[in-house]
Amino acid sequence: MMAKSNGKKLLEVSGLTMDFGGLRAVDSVGLDIFEGEIVALIGPNGAGKTTFFNCVTGIYEPTAGEVLIHPPGGTSKRINGMKPNSITTLGMARTFQNIRLFPAMTVLENVMIGRHCRTSTTILDAILSSRKAAREEKETIDKSYRLLEKVGLANEADEFSRNLSYGAQRRLEIARAMATDPFLLLLDEPAAGMNPQETHDLDELIVRIRKEDKLAILLIEHDMKLVMSISDRIYVMEYGKEIAQGTPREIKENPRVIEAYLGEEAHA
């Protein structure tokens, strides 16, 4: 809870509701993230976690509720209903549960594309091959290489992204998201399908990103060991509702959470 008392609020979601026809996928959920925090959003399958992400990142327009972001050094903004590219430009980036890289582009290009919204070269600069275009291109490549080194993929820079191993593709997604210079990174099940070694590496990577890049991270994750070891705070959802929030220790002991998870086990 240390971060909560000291840090500045970055994301403030209140009363977020999303209906699909008659189905209420997310029901009045609130969530706050403070500077430098790692926050986990957990819950049984179908609890509405990914829908929550989609509402916050602009893929869906929420039926009701408020999504406010407070960029460090910028002005606060209400972002519901904004287009995803505008939200990314404001400083929020995400990855997907099922990997969504650009398969026919190289690893390096996948990261470079993330720099798109941070560079100002226009088509005219490119045609006239201006000095500005050349300088920006070089900066983009340098920065992209640094990110690839960070996630351990610098040697695969010229591979097509579809040829990478599963774990490597996930790390590339993180590098691409970070290329957009976010202050808040949303990771949707980053450890899904990874083996224990890969999960361990990911654990380290996330903690390192927070420390070195001063990012706040919100992640959806099913791997409880990972969640409990790296999160500062945890929110729990079930059937679209938020049923608990607190530190990992508080969550572990929360009877409502235990019931939700045991309930899920009984179904499985």
């Binding site: 990142t57 893929i59 650009f102 582009m105 919204c117 070269t121 490119a126 291109e137």
Partner: protein
């Protein structure tokens, strides 16, 4: 067999095909990005030719050399066509972005008919003589037997344009954004790409290519009218499908194959059936290889 004659036909086919390819690129790029067949694309080509006609008509009076006039006319035509392409997307397609797929297609056909009739009313329905701007220059004896000087200009311009397009798509920022948008539009937005601007840019680039093709063809055939966009558009669309729609090298290949098939058919059988060979080839490809020569069967992600 008369190889001399065959070679002459092949050269003619390549010239014709490279122009088809230039127009086909516009179809295929737009299709690749928003899965729309832009039926008004042929009209943009026609407008390019008309603007060049008007500009050339004025400039010839000033006494500049033919090639200078051609270049200046082409530049103005390109700017005009780019503006038309941009506006067309804004008015006819963007409001229908989330509509069922048939709606923008109907809108495209409507836009095509509108533009054709608009030029017919504003200018004339008659054929107009396009000035001869490329005078014969003396190049090496063996080539001149097969290619006219206009043909040579066409080959050079189309080759340079296609190389420039390849560089643009492969190495520039907008090119990367276009490829990303083509592969996954939602994800492109999520990495911060303004997809609407990428789509506008695609229309502009496609229109620029069409206008260049318009100027080149007009100076080769020596006449234009408001209806030339229809057949050229249809042929270029055929070329794009032939090569695999959405596939950029495919559009070039499709254009060349189509151009060569037409000239061979016309040269050996009958020039009256030129169009029959073009569309017959399309039918054949669609039966044998529905995805086109370089196209891949689409896998639908669920």
């Amino acid at each position: 067999m008369d190889f001399e004659y065959l070679f002459e036909l092949l050269c003619g086919g390549v010239v014709k095909g490279s122009i088809y390819a230039l127009i086909a690129l516009g179809y295929t790029m737009v299709y690749g990005i928003i899965q729309l067949i832009n039926f008004a694309h042929g009209e943009v080509y026609m407008i390019g030719a008309f603007v060049a006609f008007i500009v050339a008509g004025i400039l010839t009076l000033t006494g500049y050399s033919g090639l200078t006039v051609l270049v200046l006319a082409a530049v103005v035509a390109v700017i005009y066509a780019a503006a038309y392409g941009y506006t067309l997307e804004k008015i006819a397609y963007r409001p229908l972005r989330n509509a069922p797929r048939l709606s923008p297609l109907i809108s495209a056909i409507g836009a095509s008919i509108f533009l054709m009739n608009y030029v017919q009313l504003a200018q004339t329905p008659d054929f107009l003589p396009f000035p001869e701007l490329v005078s014969d220059f003396d190049f090496m004896e063996p080539i001149s037997r097969y290619l006219s000087s206009v043909d040579l200009v066409i080959l050079i311009v189309t080759t340079v344009t296609m190389i420039a397009l390849t560089v643009l798509i492969k190495y520039t920022k907008i090119g990367k954004a276009m490829r990303a948008t083509q592969q996954d539009q939602v994800m492109a937005r999520l990495v911060g790409i303004n997809v609407d601007r990428v789509i506008s840019a695609t229309f502009i680039i496609g229109s620029v290519l069409a206008a260049i093709a318009g100027v080149l063809i007009a100076s080769r055939t020596g006449q234009i009218n408001s209806a030339i966009g229809f057949m050229a558009g249809l042929k270029a669309f055929t070329a794009a499908v032939l090569g695999g729609i959405g596939n950029i090298p495919g559009a070039v290949l499709g254009g060349l194959v189509l151009g060569i098939a037409e000239t061979l058919g016309a040269g050996y059988i009958s020039s009256a059936y030129e169009d029959v060979f073009a569309f017959g080839l399309l039918v054949l490809i669609l039966i044998l290889r529905p995805a086109g020569l370089l196209g891949k069967a689409v896998k639908q992600k669920v």
